[in-house]
């Protein structure tokens, strides 16, 4: 079907008091320090117990280009991005006209009065802030003022929408890592703006915040931090990486928390090497995996492209390692700072020839943490590279999350023979070969370099090889090996279904299903509620790994119509399902939108509804 493009829904805003259920956008110039202001706003709302999200829509630029930060507060716990916000902080002159035009009737515009912009719409509320005058009252040096003037909108918002100043101070202090000096300097600006707003502004809009208890026990964290911490608790030992947006902060997190694994003499047990490119990073983690370490790299689409040849080698030589792809928009350099789910096919099939990779698909911080440690278990258990495909939205934005659960399983180091076990193996089986499938699961027993036994050595290679890891060009040997590798993938299918099977919400009476992966869940859950109100009841399945779990087949057969919703252009999950299920799947409808932005409930609702209406 043809999907509709996202549309703006400019419904008028009711005049009665609106509490904890609206969104605002902050438009600033990149590099102007607005990140601090926005983080403080999100943290304050979070601390007030209001379910909240913050999405940073930023440019590929260090300084100057426009950037938007959207913050949505939702007493009902809906944390998906909304396309429209009721309030805009128009602090970027270059985009102000468009930002103001996007406001719904009855919306609010907070804008510096210094620009003398004028009230270009008469159906919205205007709050004009004398930014320069407020800044002039501070003791801050002129050179430095530009960098803190974004604090003025924090003060104005505190006054207008009822944000407690003490909580703002706490959030600011946390943002500066407990350092009082920068906290006080910034807070001074917030206070001055707050006082000005208290004295000078008359509230004309219905929006306000109130404390509630919607976030009891929750934490606020980015997916990249979660993944980095997960890796630390998963026993990561060798990290090799090349900086690339939006994955960089994952390795930053590993570096930040590697002290948790430091030994009593102050030495590291986690090696971190910044490589010269992603090719080299891939080579390093494969070398490390071969030598018996838990190894990881973190990258994004362009890096994945460069790692292709190594990915095939690791698949074929059966070397465990973990590759995180925090996906951004491609093809090519694409939109380096915009989110996407368009690397599903490329990672699943990464490598030339008949390569088929395991992919894990986290959709929220709890899962980024869990797959952070679990990916090593899967890699060593299956003796394969494991791709963990996250995205920019999860990786770089702050998400509300339950605190992470300590790993419930012991480390699974997979089938590794030490010298004594090797001897026992030989005594039992007559000989040992690296790729002998004695257990019938397609997984051989490996030895690590350093194993003191005359028969322990084996030769890892990307060339054709037999069970003994010897070079072979024989067709029958090649076919036998490929057949075993496919069989291993079937072992993986069952194993993954047990460990991280799909998330489901299924009532067998309902005939419409929604399938997805990754970060679309908040938008989908909200859309399902909207659809249910219209009488369209839906079941739900979010797959969390490739190869697909056997329960996917069941889900497909249970429904009369299934919408496969994903954040890419080609409907890649839909394609993967079709590879596994070549039978007629005319009841699968691909709802794919790759526009660089986190998905909205409205878009899903519009498209499902349109399809249902067309059907009836």
């Amino acid at each position: 079907m043809v999907v509709t493009l996202p549309t703006e829904h400019q419904q008028s805003i009711p005049q009665q008091r609106l509490v904890n259920d609206f969104a605002f956008a902050v438009a600033t110039a990149n590099g102007s320090g607005s990140q601090t202001s926005n983080n403080v706003l999100v943290k304050t709302l979070f601390d007030m117990g209001i379910p909240v999200n913050g999405k940073n829509l930023f440019p590929s630029n260090i300084k100057g280009l426009p950037t938007w930060y959207t913050i949505r507060a939702s007493k009902d716990g809906y944390t998906a991005r909304r396309a429209t916000t009721e309030i805009v902080v128009a602090y970027n002159r270059d985009t102000a006209a468009e930002d103001i035009a996007n406001l719904p009737k009855g919306g609010v515009c907070i804008i510096p009065s210094d620009w003398k912009w004028g009230r270009t719409r008469d159906d919205i509320v205007w709050y004009e802030v004398p930014v320069k005058d407020i800044m002039a009252q501070t003791q801050i040096e002129t050179d430095f003022r530009k960098r803190v003037e974004n604090m003025t909108y924090v003060g104005v918002m505190a006054s207008l929408f009822n944000l407690p100043m003490d909580m703002i101070y706490t959030a600011l202090l946390a943002n500066f890592g407990g350092k009082e000096k920068p906290t006080k300097m910034n807070f001074n600006v917030i206070e001055l703006a707050y006082q000005w707003a208290q004295q000078s502004l008359t509230k004309q809009d219905p929006f306000t915040f109130e404390k509630m208890d919607g976030n009891v026990g929750k934490i606020l964290i980015t997916g990249n931090e979660a993944a980095g911490i997960g890796a630390i608790f998963g026993g990561v030992q060798v990290v090799a990486w090349y900086p690339i947006t939006p994955s960089t902060s994952m390795v930053d997190a590993i570096i930040s928390y590697r002290h948790l694994r430091r030994d009593e003499t102050g030495k590291e047990t986690v090696a971190v090497v910044q490589s010269e490119d992603e090719l080299s990073a891939a080579g390093m983690i494969i070398g490390a995996g071969f030598a018996g370490a838990r190894s990881l790299t973190s990258t994004s689409g362009p890096g994945i492209s460069l790692m292709t040849e190594f990915a095939g080698l690791a698949y074929f030589a059966e070397i465990p390692c973990v590759i995180w792809d925090v996906t951004r928009m491609g093809p090519s350099t694409g939109l380096p700072t915009r989110t996407s789910q368009a690397d599903l096919l490329s990672t699943h099939f990464l490598g030339h020839g008949d390569t088929r990779q395991i992919v894990l698909l986290p959709g929220k911080p709890e899962e980024a943490f869990e797959y952070g440690w679990r990916a090593f278990d899967v890699a060593e258990h299956m003796q394969m590279p494991i791709f963990v495909v996250s995205d920019l939205d999860l990786g770089m934005n702050n998400w509300m999350s339950d605190p992470f659960q300590y790993p419930t399983e012991e480390l699974d180091r997979g089938k590794v023979l030490n010298a004594q076990q090797l001897q026992e193996f030989i005594d039992k089986n007559g000989k040992w070969g690296r790729y002998m499938d004695v257990d019938g699961d397609g997984i051989g027993w490996r030895t690590l370099p350093g194993t003191d036994h005359p028969m322990a050595a084996w030769f890892a290679r990307g060339t054709g090889h037999d069970e003994m890891a010897n070079y072979s060009e024989r067709s029958d040997v090649w076919l036998r090996n490929m057949t075993r590798l496919r069989h291993k993938l079937e072992t993986a299918r069952t194993y993954l279904a047990e460990k991280i099977g799909p998330v489901t919400d299924i009532d067998t009476n309902k005939k419409v299903g929604i399938m997805t992966f990754g970060t679309n869940e908040p938008a989908i859950q909200e859309a399902r509620d909207l659809l249910a109100r219209e009488g369209i009841e839906t079941n739900y399945m979010r797959v969390r790994a490739l190869p697909l779990a056997p329960s996917v087949t069941e889900f497909i057969r249970q429904h009369e119509r299934i919408y496969v919703i994903e954040n890419n252009f080609d409907g890649q999950l839909n394609q993967v399902i079709r590879v596994d299920h070549p039978e007629d799947l005319t009841h699968l409808v691909s709802l794919a939108l790759g526009d660089g932005l986190p998905m909205t409930a409205q878009w899903i609702y519009d498209n499902v509804k349109a399809d249902k209406e067309k059907q009836s």
């Binding site: 047990t269 490589s275 030769f459």
Partner: protein, 352 residues
């Protein structure tokens, strides 16, 4: 009549025969220079009593990169990707810094597709023996020029080589290598001594060994051919390795009345001494400027100088600069790999 020990005569300190250090049968062309280097590795390891399980073999792709299968059959090996061997070695040695590594590459593998990784692995000073079996030509794809081929050289199918040859020893020094040698596969003794010394080095050791391709680049006019090497190779020094416990003998030699200036003793970090007897080139490998000059001069004069070109006190290795524990990471027990539940709880508080 004295009885000769029949079994022990042909075993080393570990009780292993030379046969135990061999690998699979070579599939390279008969007479290939690479096989001769493999043989020297086997001899070196046998004579030194190397514990094969403590050493990993690596290679990239190409004729030379096939050779790790043909020596040290009891060592783990990894025949990786074209030009990417350095990164694989780096990862493996970061995973287990207690192991040693010998890596074999070629002039295509290192000088063209792998130039980036070559430079960067040197820069990081990952301690392993990096052997380049340099024949100036692509063998497996049937005789294209490599980046080390002589400028102006003619080959049957590819005509004239218009580009200057890359000097990989010079590139290694410029990148920061701390042990750089050039040798000739026809000079078996020198090859073996240099590889032995390289294994003692705490840092990356680059050996650029001219190793003729008998099939595609063996015309006497080619500087990478056997006839050329046999005729033109000039050893800069006579090289002798003195073990750390060799001190007395060292003194004896001096007492014997040899002029001190005729030797350069290169002290290695483990106490081994590389004793160099000058053979008329007056080269001191401890000077970087001299090392670069001697290579530059050799290029200009078109002379084939071999021996230890450059040696530097070991710089900090990658594992050291990353402040890793002494024990190989891959041998750490499970309890070292996962912080406690209390540590996670404490961390979670920071995100509330």
């Amino acid at each position: 009549m004295t009885t000769r020990p029949t079994r022990n005569a042909n075993v080393n300190v570990l009780g292993l025969s030379r046969e135990d250090y061999k690998g699979k049968k070579s599939t390279l062309c008969p007479g290939c220079g690479h096989d001769s280097i493999s043989n020297q590795i086997v001899s070196m390891a046998y004579e030194q009593g190397i514990e094969q399980h403590r050493l990993i073999k690596f290679s990239g792709i190409g004729c030379s990169s096939k050779t790790p299968a043909y020596f040290l059959g009891r060592s783990h090996g990894f025949n990786s990707l074209h030009g990417r061997m350095p990164s694989v070695v780096t990862g493996a040695l970061m995973a287990n810094r207690e192991l040693h590594a010998i890596a074999v590459s070629g002039d295509g593998d290192t000088g063209s597709i792998g130039m980036g990784q070559f430079k960067h692995v040197i820069r990081r000073n990952v301690p392993f023996v990096y052997i380049i079996e340099n024949n100036g030509v692509y063998g497996l794809t049937k005789g294209q020029f490599s980046a080390t081929a002589d400028e102006g050289q003619f080959l049957k199918y590819y005509g004239k080589n218009h580009f200057p040859a890359i000097d990989l020893a010079m590139e290694a020094i410029i990148a920061g290598a701390t042990f750089v040698a050039r040798s000739f596969s026809g000079n078996a003794k020198q090859v073996q001594t240099l590889i032995t010394a390289a294994l003692h080095h705490k840092g990356i050791a680059v050996l650029d060994i001219i190793s003729p391709c008998v099939t595609f680049n063996n015309d006497p006019a080619s500087t990478k051919s056997y006839p050329y090497g046999q005729e033109h190779e000039i050893s800069m020094h006579e090289i002798q390795l003195l073990a750390p416990d060799y001190v007395d003998a060292k003194q004896e030699i001096v007492i014997d009345g040899e002029a001190e200036s005729e030797y350069i003793d290169v002290d290695m970090h483990d106490g081994t001494v590389i004793r160099l007897k000058d053979l008329g080139r007056d080269h001191d490998p401890r000077s970087r400027i001299q090392a670069l000059t001697v290579l530059e001069q050799a290029q200009r004069d078109n002379v084939f100088l071999t021996g230890l070109v450059y040696y530097e006190e070991p710089r900090v290795t990658l594992a050291e600069s990353d402040n890793l524990v002494e024990q190989g990471l891959s041998t750490l027990p499970a309890e070292k790999l996962r912080p406690s539940a209390a540590a996670l709880d404490k961390l979670m508080q920071a995100f509330r």
